[in-house]
């Protein structure tokens, strides 16, 4: 032990001896204790005078710092440290009208786990509420889907409060996520199609969600939607209100279907209706006045023209009229007053949304020949003229080419032929893994050869082919081959789109990945920087994709500094 520590130890022992005693008897206590060092005795006495004030000062100062950080304080039903079942409350997340949500951690020390606990504000008075809760909980706990927050447990606290333990999702509610990131139409529709997937899964398990609204759809940090707060809370509300003798309605009024409002038990059709509402909200930004819209269908709300106007002012002046009309049709079909006129499944709603993204004809619209032709034209606008002329001469060649296009699910409707690779690389690679890389490589090289013969050497499609092949080589760890293909893709994109185009970001970032793998750190950082700069210029600094690149860069730098 060093001298300083010894000094402080002796000082603090002496301090402790006297701290609870009045000053008059300090001397006698010190004498009894046996400390002889005059410096220590002097210092102890000097400090002892301030002991109480110091204690009060530091605990109040800490509270003031925390209050500063908290911004605003509020009261809640549960406090930090409270235990619910196996979990300890860390802090409140959200207080709503009917419930509060808390962040909590596992307290039994089995393993560490963060969860969200939702506590209903009403206490449970009726005995069979618990039975219902248990039954529902069993069903819901069985759900397992990437777009659904897992439900771990539910129960009733000692005070009679009903709680639900769920997977904790860090992110934003769907509507706020879209607005916050200023998401383009394309991405919004993509998110909606994920929602359809989740609901389809739920329905397949014979469960009705009952309360689909943006607040219950969280987009996590990876950009995936997670359905939270399952119908279970609506069920509980329902039971509560019944016991209270109030209306039997459960759910959120502005997102409820006409039949729900009339007290008809909720069905999958009412979920479809609610999805239509969510879609309307996500695309137009407005929660349309419930009472009026519920009785009428969308045609009274928006005619296609004004809907198109809203979309154009919200997204881009270039949104084609056809797309607005199709979107209007999808929303209209899901909001039909008569449940049997709505989509018969979330899957069929999704396929119409995908049809819009892919420029295929919709189920929701009448299939006139002109409409179908128009769709075909939009799908393959850039090649339509070539197609028609070649068709006359070489029917046998162009048809397989079109099949290839469809097979590869190419989307050239929203101006960016390559953008659809964004964020998908991982899936693509794992898709290939199932089939075998060699086979995938062979197939893609074949596709490229045929594309080359049709579109020429420097068409964006060829760049797309190069990226695909480059990705497969990455998966195979053939770094040189993947570099070659990625650089080819880069050159083609530069020729076609110039230096400010979204497709470049992805390629830059992939190049950065490969150079990092082969330990060429300076090149790697150079390309990551290019990805960030281009994304910042094209998409803006706060776009999730840009942030993604920035985060990636941070990670790499961290890794480099650690080695």
């Amino acid at each position: 032990m060093n001298i300083a520590d010894e000094y402080w130890d002796r000082l603090s022992v002496l301090f402790e001896v006297c701290q609870d005693a009045p000053p008059e008897i300090w001397d006698s206590l010190i004498a009894k204790h046996g400390e002889k060092n005059a410096d220590i005795i002097f210092e102890a006495k000097r400090l002892l005078i301030n002991k109480t004030k110091a204690g009060i000062y530091f605990s109040s100062f800490r509270k003031r710092i925390e209050a500063d950080l908290e911004g605003n304080e509020q009261k809640s039903g549960l406090q930090k440290g409270d235990i619910i079942d196996k979990f300890r409350i860390i802090r409140p997340i959200n207080h709503g009208g009917t419930s509060s949500v808390y962040l909590a951690e596992r307290a039994d020390g089995q393993f560490s786990q963060i969860v969200a606990i939702k506590l209903m504000n009403h206490s449970c008075r009726a005995g069979n509420a618990e039975k219902i809760l248990r039954k529902e909980q069993q069903i819901l706990a069985g759900l397992n889907h990437p777009n659904i927050a897992h439900l771990y447990d539910a129960g009733i606290t000692e005070k009679g409060g009903i709680y639900i333990v769920m997977e904790y999702i860090e992110g934003l509610p769907l509507d706020r996520y879209c607005e916050h990131n200023n998401l383009r139409l394309y991405y919004r529709l993509k998110l909606l199609s994920q929602l359809c997937d989740a609901i389809q899964y739920v329905h397949k398990n014979f469960i009705v969600h009952r309360d689909i609204k943006p607040d219950n759809i969280i987009v996590n940090n990876q950009g995936h939607i997670k359905l939270v707060d399952f119908g279970i809370s609506a069920i509980i509300e329902h039971e509560m209100h019944n016991f209270d003798g109030k209306s039997s309605f459960a759910g959120t009024i502005s997102y409820s279907s006409p039949e729900q409002l009339e007290g008809v038990p909720p069905s999958t059709a009412s979920d479809i209706f609610q999805m239509g509402k969510v879609m309307l909200k996500i695309l137009t930004g407005s929660t349309v006045n419930s009472e009026k819209t519920i009785k009428n269908d969308i045609s009274c709300l928006y005619d296609t023209k004004s809907f198109n106007k809203v979309l154009r002012s919200k997204f881009s002046k270039n949104i084609p009229y056809m797309i607005s009309r199709d979107l209007c049709a999808v929303i209209g079909k899901s909001l039909a007053t008569d449940p049997s006129s709505r989509y018969n499944s979330a899957y069929s709603m999704k396929s119409d949304i995908m049809n819009i993204l892919n420029c295929f004809p919709l189920d929701a619209r009448k299939q006139t020949l002109l409409y179908i032709m128009h769709k075909f034209y939009r799908r393959h606008k850039t090649h339509f003229l070539i197609g028609v002329s070649v068709f006359v001469l070489l029917t046998g060649v162009i048809l397989p080419a079109v099949w290839y296009l469809q097979a590869n699910n190419r989307l050239d409707n929203l101006n960016d032929p390559i953008i659809h690779y964004t964020g998908q690389d991982k899936f693509k690679i794992s898709d290939y893994a199932d089939k075998g890389y060699a086979e995938a490589l062979e197939l893609n090289e074949l596709v490229m050869a045929s594309d080359r013969s049709i579109f020429g050497e420097s068409h964006p499609y060829i760049a797309e082919n190069h990226i695909k092949i480059g990705l497969i080589h990455m998966a195979l760890e053939n770094w040189e081959d993947s570099l070659r293909h990625l650089h080819n893709a880069l050159d083609i994109c530069l020729i076609n789109f110039g230096e400010k185009h979204i497709s470049l970001c992805r390629i830059y970032s992939l190049l950065g990945d490969v150079y990092f793998k082969i330990d060429n750190n300076s090149k790697s950082i150079e390309y990551y920087n290019k990805a960030i700069n281009t994304a910042t210029e094209v998409l803006g600094k706060n776009h999730p994709e840009t942030e993604n690149y920035i985060n990636n860069m941070e990670k790499i730098k961290l890794e480099l500094s650690e080695n």
Binding site: A4, L47, F61, L69, S76, R91, P92, N94, E559
Partner: protein, 193 residues
């Protein structure tokens, strides 16, 4: 979220640090500092309108995040907390310095978006007081490194007596006694020094 590699490294460094390897601290501090700062801001900028937040909760959340399901090793955790306490001190002092320089009109250039995101909001009074406490703590540090560390753990990290004892490898009784004296010493320094 840190990837698995980072989690693994953190666990390894924590082990090293627990064994007294000072270099491990230098590796860990920047990671913890960054994550803590990120958490401090993400908690403040999260979407829910109301929320409570305190330094202890942030530190704990940071620990759970950085180590994911990491080791339940109490020793490791308290060492992590100690590093976090030091980082928390740094964050609060930096925020106070920035506040002071803004108030005095020193550096008028507007904050970039990044900086605003990282900005920990403190009131004028709190930030001035924090700087004074920090100065006093620096004086204490010169006299006794151990005393200063105890203040960091208890005051900045919000650690319990047991956690502090485990992190600094001293007995809980010593921590309790020393903390009493250290805070009184600081208070006396602030008022008389």
């Amino acid at each position: 979220m840190p990837d698995n590699n980072t989690v693994k490294n953190i666990t390894v460094y924590l082990e090293e640090f627990s064994k007294g390897n000072k270099m491990a601290f230098n590796k860990l501090f920047p990671v913890v500092y960054r994550e803590l700062r990120r958490n401090a801001h993400s908690l403040r900028f999260r979407f829910f309108d109301m929320e409570t937040l305190n330094t202890t909760a942030i530190v704990h959340e940071t620990y759970l995040k950085l180590l994911k399901s990491g080791s339940g090793n109490f020793k490791n955790r308290s060492h992590f907390y100690y590093i976090a306490a030091k980082a928390m001190r740094q964050i609060l002092v930096n925020a106070s310095l920035r506040k002071r320089s803004l108030r005095r009109g020193g550096d008028e250039k507007p904050l970039s978006l990044e900086e605003i995101k990282d900005y920990v909001q403190l009131s004028d009074q709190t930030s001035e007081e924090l700087l004074l406490v920090n100065e006093a703590l620096e004086k204490l540090e010169v006299r006794s490194d151990r005393q200063a560390r105890i203040v960091e753990c208890r005051f900045f990290g919000g650690m319990s007596i047991e956690e502090t004892a485990s992190a600094l490898d001293i007995s809980p009784a010593t921590v309790k006694r020393s903390w009493n004296v250290a805070k009184t010493w600081l208070y006396t320094e602030l008022n008389e020094g």
